[in-house]
């Protein structure tokens, strides 16, 4: 919307040593997939450490975040939980594809249609300049419902390999949960998002987060993706 021109200029200067020491790096991850596959459940589980009692349809975009520590560095993971209904993604969710560092595709293992939609979701991401250069992972949700599985692990693994993504299968209601509200990641939800975070951390210099002091002069960096035609650094980080 605003200032994408000046933002592009600033992203260059930010890599210089004249910067104040970084505060916290922010990784923005967008979570997409068909309606009802459990996107809200997964993001809530990761950020709140427990599953929500009940989730409702997401209208537009919800945002959740969690601070994690990776190799001694504190990193803020921002999850953008999106509406699954097609009409929302066309004109509404667009805005939130910008400056995203990684994508989590979710399907429901008990719903073959949600698996068949994945190519469309991948295409959608490409249109927003989120192609293979951006870390992407595939999550098959609801694997606790073993009796009604419609998407076998082998098929999903093939698909994930073809698109160079790691595959995780998880359950929105893990039967192995400890019952006291805590989870020792028997459901892999931690692993899913931490895998993405590690991948992002190991990647080349993400633009560092800028302290927010003096909000008047805070800058928003769009990472250049919109300005340089997507040349090679599509996942570069933004901050402000």
């Amino acid at each position: 919307m605003a200032e994408s021109g000046s933002a592009a200029e600033l992203s260059g200067s930010l890599t210089s040593s004249a910067l104040p020491p970084p505060r916290t790096r922010i990784f923005k991850i967008i979570v997409i997939g068909d309606s009802g596959v459990g996107k809200t459940c997964l993001t809530f589980r990761f950020c709140a450490g427990r599953f929500p009692e009940k989730t409702e349809a997401t209208i537009g975009v919800d945002f959740r975040e969690r601070l994690v520590e990776i190799d001694g560095e504190k990193i803020k993971i921002q999850l953008w939980d999106t509406a699954g209904q097609e009409r929302f993604r066309k004109s509404m969710v667009q805005h939130y594809y910008r400056n995203v560092h990684a994508v989590v595709f979710v399907y429901d293992v008990t719903n073959a249609a949600s698996f068949r939609s994945l190519p469309a979701w991948i295409e959608e991401c490409k249109q927003h300049a989120l192609g293979t250069e951006v870390p992407r992972i595939l999550v098959g949700n609801k694997c606790d419902l073993q009796d009604s599985v419609q998407v076998g692990t082998d098929v999903a693994q093939q698909f994930a390999d073809a698109h160079s993504m790691p595959l995780f299968e998880t359950s929105a209601k893990s039967p192995n949960s400890l019952g006291d509200g805590s989870y020792r990641d028997s459901d892999h939800v931690e692993a899913i998002f931490m895998t993405v975070a590690h991948k992002l951390k190991s990647q080349k210099p993400l633009v560092l987060s800028q302290p927010a002091e003096g909000s008047g002069s805070t800058v928003t960096l769009s990472g250049g993706r919109n300005d340089d035609g997507g040349g090679g650094r599509g996942w570069s980080c933004s901050s402000c």
């Binding site: 919307m1 922010i26 009940k54 409702e56 537009g60 509404m92």
Partner: protein, 409 residues
């Protein structure tokens, strides 16, 4: 007079169970009841008085009144309600799966103490209502959040009146949200920032710098806040207001909410995620009466036509806005329920095939006594008829003097 009345309301914030400001004496409430009943039995119905009552302090006060006034606000004849949908309504509809998915997981919208079995009955009715309206209007497309509007209507006016109300709302107030794409909805959201700019340029600039966009207000707009408010009485209060107002009013209210939180917003990190996060979580203790007054003032000060002159808003036509005047005119010549009932009978119109409205009084009494939950649900549909009985009395009382009406309530 309207202005003066509003001034008086500004300081009033607290509310009792029905959202009516307790500081106002019981006399104020009684006065309002009288005004509403007088407006309802006028011929034609005094729709402007009903609008003022619905938007004004405390809204329509009780669900009983809502069942009488809401249909009038939408020009609905309660004696000619659509029939209860049959099984066929669920067959072959492209949105069936999505509707079922959204309704089945919308547990939060139902009163907390409601037994699961009762809720399940209502959820099935909700699916039927939505699909029935969509089937009657093939040009309309379901959106997630439409079910939040439908459930609010269902919980107050019952299944058949909900169909009639939802049908009208979908063709007018909600029309833009029901296009094949959400482009028109985006257009409506684009009215938000210009309003903020007029009132608080600094706040506006901050939000532009943060690139927050307007999606934080999307669910507010397309569900009339039903999706985000946890107290049902607040949702009802806002529905009173919106049913009596211009289709853009939810945007003006969104503006007042953002302005109300101006300090919080400015203290937040100037970042899309942070500002989106802050604004999309609506505080549950908002001073609704105050904000409603402010939204009305903003609407008068910066009407849509004025805002539309701005370049960004010119490119697109809104069906909700362009059809509003015709809708407004259509509501001006409604007959009171007592007359409608007579006319309906005279026409030999019978609803007995379709529902309970025409069932003899004895049968009705039996229904009440049944106490069976399913029956209770069905009885919702009767309220319109029972309401009419009250009006017959009220009308007689009017002939004797308005003071007598007060004693009725």
């Amino acid at each position: 007079m309207r202005k003066h009345k509003r001034k008086k309301q500004i300081g009033a914030v607290g509310g009792n169970e029905n959202g009516f400001v307790t500081r106002e004496s019981d006399g104020g409430r009684k006065h309002k009841l009288t005004v509403i009943h007088q407006a309802l039995i006028r011929d034609p119905v005094d729709i402007e008085a009903l609008r003022r009552a619905a938007a004004g302090n405390g809204g329509l006060l009780t669900d009983e009144l809502r069942r009488k006034v809401w249909p009038k606000l939408l020009n609905i004849n309660v004696y000619k309600l659509p029939p209860k949908p049959g099984r066929e309504v669920r067959e072959n509809h492209k949105d069936y799966n999505q509707v079922v998915l959204d309704v089945r997981r919308s547990m939060k919208r139902f009163p907390k103490g409601m037994p699961a079995s009762e809720r399940a009955v209502l959820q099935e009715q909700l699916i039927d209502i939505i699909l029935e309206v969509l089937k009657r209007n093939p040009q309309l497309h379901y959106y997630q959040g439409y079910h939040d509007v439908a459930v609010t209507l269902l919980l107050v006016v019952g299944e058949r009146m909900s169909i009639a109300m939802l049908d009208t709302l979908s063709n007018f107030h909600l029309r833009d949200f029901m296009d094949p794409t959400m482009d028109s909805t985006k257009h409506i959201l684009n009215y938000l920032m210009p309003i903020l700019e007029q009132v608080d340029a600094e706040l506006h600039d901050f939000m532009i710098r943060a690139e927050v966009g307007t999606i934080f207000a999307l669910s507010w707009l397309i569900t009339w806040y039903g999706h985000v408010l946890s107290e049902f009485r607040h949702t009802l209060r806002l529905y009173d207001f919106f049913l009596a107002s211009h289709p853009l009013m939810p945007i003006y209210l969104a503006a007042t909410i953002v302005l109300h939180r101006e300090k919080e917003v400015k203290q937040t990190e100037c970042d899309m995620a942070m500002v989106h996060h802050l604004l999309s979580h609506i505080p549950q203790d908002l001073p609704y009466e105050l904000l409603i007054c402010q939204a009305q003032d903003l609407f008068e000060q910066f009407p849509p036509s004025l805002l539309a002159k701005r370049a960004a808003l010119q490119s697109r036509k809104s069906l909700s806005i362009s059809s509003f005047q015709a809708f407004h005119l259509s509501t001006l010549h409604q007959r009171p329920d007592s007359v409608l009932q007579r006319l309906t009978r005279a026409q030999g119109y019978t609803t007995s095939r379709h529902g309970l409205e025409a069932s003899p009084p004895a049968a009705r009494g039996q229904l009440w006594r049944e106490g069976n939950r399913m029956m209770k649900m069905a009885v919702w549909g009767l309220s319109a008829t029972l309401g009419a009985a009250v009006f017959a009395v009220a009308q007689t009382a009017m002939d004797w003097g308005p003071d007598l009406i007060l004693q009725l309530f």
